[in-house]
């Protein structure tokens, strides 16, 4: 075997390794779905709390339960589809999946704590409002980790924007307007980045047939 033959084989192997390492992030569709749901529910919560629409605040509990159920079912369905795509088990995609699973775990602990505080303790609406602060801060961290690993500039920007939204919401924690800000934040930090990532993943997948 000659050096040229060996180098050609190594080139081929190197191309395959790069293909695997450069697999686009595939979770865009799931992120987009959660972004849309979050935009809607936070907007709805703002309209109720700011008394812009005449519906009882009790409907919020139902809306949040529906949000969780629809999001859970949607994630399961989309997750199964993503699992079948080439590169679903690349390091970037495995880390992305795990980071968001841990993010959900972190937010759930805050949600459960808030509910317990409001039902068993002396907590009021402000306690519940802090969930939004933690959600944006946690999201900023999750985006930051994935951005660093996948070298995605758009996620670095989404991470930075998430931290800003977290701080602004904390500043206005007693005001219902935080839900309007959160709704806008969901569009900027979730829907737009995931639309861009989704388009990238689609073009790469199409390019590879």
């Amino acid at each position: 075997m000659t050096k040229d033959q060996i180098l050609a084989d190594l080139d081929y192997a190197s191309q395959l390794a790069k293909d695997g390492a450069n697999t686009p992030l595939l979770g865009g569709a799931i992120g987009l779905m959660w972004g849309i749901l979050l935009t809607l529910i936070l907007g709805y919560q703002y309209l109720i709390l700011a008394q812009k629409i005449d519906l009882p605040p009790q409907t919020l509990a139902m809306a949040w339960i529906a949000y969780g159920v629809i999001g859970g079912i949607g994630s399961t369905i989309l997750g199964r589809r993503i699992d079948r795509l080439p590169g679903a088990n690349s390091v970037n995609n495995r880390v992305e999946t795990y980071v968001w699973v841990m993010f959900v775990g972190a937010i759930l602990t805050v949600v459960i704590g808030s509910i317990l505080n409001m039902t068993l303790g002396q907590g009021d609406q402000t306690v519940w409002n802090t969930v939004l602060v933690f959600a944006f801060a946690g999201q900023g961290m999750a985006y930051g980790i994935v951005a660093k690993l996948a070298k995605e500039k758009i996620l670095h920007m989404a991470s930075f924007a998430s931290f800003i939204f977290s701080a602004v919401i904390f500043m206005l924690i007693h005001d219902p307007v935080i839900y309007l800000i959160g709704s806008i934040g969901a569009v900027i930090t979730i829907i737009i980045p995931n639309l861009i990532l989704g388009a990238q993943a689609k073009s790469v997948t199409a390019a590879h047939g």
């Binding site: 075997m1 050096k3 060996i6 180098l7 192997a13 390794a17 695997g20 080439p86 590169g87 390091v91």
Partner: protein, 101 residues
Amino acid sequence: MADTEPDINLDAIDDVIHGRLRLGIMAYLSAVNPASFPELLEKTGTSNGNLSTHLTKLETAGYVRQEKGYKGKRPQTLVHLTEKGRNAWIKYLNAMKALLG
């Protein structure tokens, strides 16, 4: 061009890995682990039978593990790079580096 170049002594090279297709499989699995059988077919551009043959060779050496199961109702084969396979891959790359200067 190949005729005019001297042959290289490959005695120090792991010949289980050193075949174009097996090299490609190991390279891809080093980045995406596990990978499904159809994914490897698409990436390597080889035939079903050829891929099976080479995967069996790698599996016999303990470098990969094939896991047959179901994804929903569809049968699915996942190919995992084993710890032994990863070590062999690193050793192979180092040997190639030394060989080619």
